[in-house]
């Protein structure tokens, strides 16, 4: 693959994180990923204190422009920005009104004219965030674009794994379920392979994208085989709204073949960690007893790490602007 278009400007060369935007994990070096994880650690500590405030983004305006519905991610970015002292504005854009045409670029130009210091964008079209990033003067953070990338989710997953397992390198991670429609899967594959994990993708053949092995992963269509000895079992949400095309015969069959139950989990390593980006379809891709098993499931911790990772990203991306490097 050729280099990504968001090249590093000369004036940032030599910085620990030289990128202007965070549009995806693609294009990041392993040490840059580790830098963001290390930065996030301090915010984990802060977030566990009674006073969770830091003023370093005081006076800066953060716009969360969500062109696709999201509650959890929006909240996570809002809390992250507020804990750093930014003026956070949420812009939930109705799906129907801003979908096509110049409108998206017009929206970018309009947002830019309000002189924000950072824009967080979620959009249902792959590549939409980059399109906007090319039109604005401030850093842009991708909060999920279509089925392309969701970098902060992958970073928070890596941070969760690293904290629970002490490392990422050398672990076997099985990413299971609807890989085809998942931006989380793509960003996680890029992150975890960059950090030296052995990554498998597991799912029905209709939900595994073509040539996925060229991203450095091993595909499995047999759930049991894919789980065999895995240190981390990362379940993906079955995107039920996309099931109209007949990707799987039924939810009942999907659960029988690809649902994570305690019996299934026994195929993985004895201390395997269970993860899920949420929201979960309980009883479809994951059984409640697994999701709620506090010894095995890291799902609430993922949410906690999400705030810390987003604080780190907001901080790092605005450092040039704040003269803080």
């Amino acid at each position: 693959m050729p280099a990504p278009s968001h090249r590093i400007p000369d004036d940032r060369a030599g910085l620990p994180f030289p990128h202007r935007h965070l549009l995806g994990i693609y294009g990041l070096q392993p040490h840059e990923i580790l830098f963001l994880l290390d930065e996030a650690e301090q915010w984990v500590t802060l977030n566990r204190q009674a006073s969770k405030h830091d003023d370093r983004l005081r006076g800066l305006t953060q716009i969360n422009a969500f062109f696709e519905n999201s509650t959890r991610t929006l909240l996570s970015f809002e809390i992250a920005g507020k804990r750093l002292g930014a003026d956070v504005v949420n812009m939930a854009v109705a799906q129907s009104s801003v979908k096509k045409g110049e409108t998206l670029i017009d929206t970018a130009i309009t947002l830019n004219a309000m002189r924000p210091d950072l824009i967080v964008i979620r959009h249902d079209a792959s590549g939409a965030v980059q399109l906007i990033a090319d039109k604005v003067d401030c850093p842009v953070l991708n909060a999920g674009d279509g089925r392309h990338e969701h970098p902060t989710q992958a970073l928070l997953d890596a941070l969760t794994i690293r904290r629970r397992k002490g490392r990422v390198e050398g672990l076997t991670v099985a990413i299971c379920g609807d890989v085809l429609h998942s931006r989380v899967a793509r960003s996680n594959i890029l992150t975890l392979t960059a950090l030296g994990a052995d990554v498998r993708v597991v799912g029905p053949p209709t939900l595994l994208p073509a040539a996925i092995e060229r991203m450095g992963v091993t595909p499995f269509t047999d759930f049991d085989a894919g789980l065999d000895g895995a240190d981390v079992v990362m379940m993906l949400r079955l995107q039920r709204e996309r099931m109209s095309g007949g990707f799987v015969p039924s939810l009942r069959e999907y659960h029988a073949l690809y649902g994570l139950t305690p019996e299934r989990l026994a195929k993985a390593a004895p201390d395997a960690l269970v993860m899920h980006p949420g929201p979960m379809n309980r009883g479809v891709e994951i059984a409640s007893s697994v999701a709620d098993d506090i010894d095995r499931s890291a799902i609430p911790e993922q949410v906690e790490m999400g705030v810390a990772v987003r604080m780190a990203c907001l901080d790092v991306l605005t450092r040039t602007r704040r003269g803080a490097w």
């Binding site: 693959m1 050729p2 990504p4 278009s5 693609y26 979908k99 096509k100 045409g101 110049e102 998206l104 670029i105 959009h123 079209a125 792959s126 590549g127 939409a128 980059q130 399109l131 674009d145 279509g146 089925r147 392309h148 990338e149 931006r183 793509r186 994208p209 073509a210 040539a211 996925i212 060229r214 991203m215």
Partner: protein
């Protein structure tokens, strides 16, 4: 106004040299001849003299782009604001290029291009349609396609088909592969093309009617066409320079100028396309000229319209095949002019005494750089923006009249 003229001191694709004498809009002599006193003279200064290019299957009548690209005749796709499915629209389309370019409309094969009912292709033929086309889409109903081939064939019309199985390609904007997977874009397997071709070839076998696949872009699709030709079936196919020179990785970074229909293929398929040009499986090279303005291209990839402005770059990009030793100049002009004229029964396309005086002067070595912003087309959407190329059209003459 048509004037008699003599083009002197040129050279020809076959290595010969000399000139061309034009009288009454037709070629009166070639090579060496006595120049009459009354005619105006053009000194070619050693430039290549070739026939005006014939572009099969363009989507817009875009005079300046065609003149700049050396294209004197176009076969216009029926996919217009109003699909070309009746005689009045055919007559209007045929007149729409005057005086810049000869427009040969392709009749919509089905009413409103909906793929359901046969359009009045016999009447449209009488009105000037030089073929019938399924348009941008694929005809899903095999019964309709069967009857269409039989009917058009009986009218002496070659049917132009889009070869992509609609079930597989429904929401796809790319070819399945690493790039589509990394970018998270909906993709169809390349077999979508072969599947459509296989069905249509069986129907050609059943009807004996001539069929032209507007663009064939995969190894499997080309193998089917190659085999059908060996068996003597009346089938032909075209391709665009984009599919010969670019692979699907060209859309990395969500570059919508690389969003084409059919989509760009992987490197192995691209190489198979080059082989198919070399061995004669591919009959012609077309630009697929489809200028799309920023409103249609500055969008998220999946929302952007497919298509590229290809007319101005057609010859320069096709000359890459000559420089790479894949074909010679004689074959190049056959791909760009001779074969289109033969397949669709058009005048022009050749430098012969008595033929229509559609003539080009070309400097095949002149270097230039393709620049979207500098294009004269209705829109400058090209995936080749910034590419240095060689080969400039110096003069385009249509029916004895200099256009550019």
């Amino acid at each position: 106004m048509v004037s008699d003229l003599a083009i002197l001191n040129g050279r020809f694709a076959d290595g010969g040299s000399g000139g061309v004498l034009v009288r009454d809009g037709h070629i009166a002599a070639i090579g060496g001849f006595d120049v009459p006193e009354s005619v105006s003279r053009i000194d070619a200064r050693g430039a290549l003299i070739g026939p005006g290019l014939i572009d099969v299957g363009v989507f817009a009548v875009d005079g300046p782009a065609f003149a700049a690209g050396g294209i004197t005749r176009i076969l216009l796709m029926p996919d217009q604001a109003q699909p070309l499915d009746n005689t009045a629209l055919i007559l209007r389309a045929a007149a729409s290029g005057k005086p810049g370019v000869w427009v040969h409309p392709l009749a919509a094969a089905t009413r409103a291009l909906e793929g359901q009912e046969l359009a009045e292709i016999g009447l449209m033929r009488a009105a000037g349609a030089c073929g019938a086309a399924t348009g941008r889409g694929w005809i899903a109903d095999s019964g309709v396609m069967y009857r269409l081939l039989a009917y058009a064939g009986a009218q002496g019309l070659r049917l132009v088909a889009h070869a992509e199985d609609g079930g597989l390609a429904a929401d796809a904007v790319m070819t399945e592969g690493e790039t589509a997977t990394r970018l998270g874009l909906a993709a169809a397997p390349p077999q979508a093309e072969a599947l459509a071709i296989a069905r249509d070839l069986l129907l050609v076998e059943a009807t004996g009617a001539p069929l032209h696949f507007r663009q064939v872009t995969t190894a499997r699709g080309l193998a089917l066409v190659r085999d059908a030709k060996k068996r003597g079936l009346p089938v032909s196919c075209g391709i665009s320079p984009a599919h010969l020179l670019l692979a699907d990785s060209a859309v990395t970074g969500f570059r919508t100028f690389g969003r084409l229909s059919p989509p760009l293929r992987d490197e192995a398929d691209r190489r198979a396309c080059l082989d198919a040009v070399a061995d004669g499986t591919i009959d012609l090279i077309c630009s697929g000229h489809d200028p799309q303005g920023p409103e249609a291209k500055r969008l998220p990839f999946a929302d952007a319209e497919p298509g590229m402005a290809g007319a101005e770059t057609l010859l320069a990009l096709a000359l890459v095949l000559v420089r790479d030793g894949l074909i010679d100049l004689v074959r190049l002009f056959d791909l760009l002019a001779g074969a289109p004229a033969r397949l669709f029964g058009l005048p022009g396309g050749r430098l012969d005494v008595g033929a229509e005086a559609d003539i080009l002067l070309v400097d095949p070595d002149a270097p230039w750089r393709i620049t979207s912003d500098a294009m004269v087309a209705a829109a400058g959407n090209t995936p080749f923006d910034g590419l240095p190329v060689q080969g400039r059209v110096l003069r385009t003459i249509k029916g004895g009249v200099t256009l550019a």
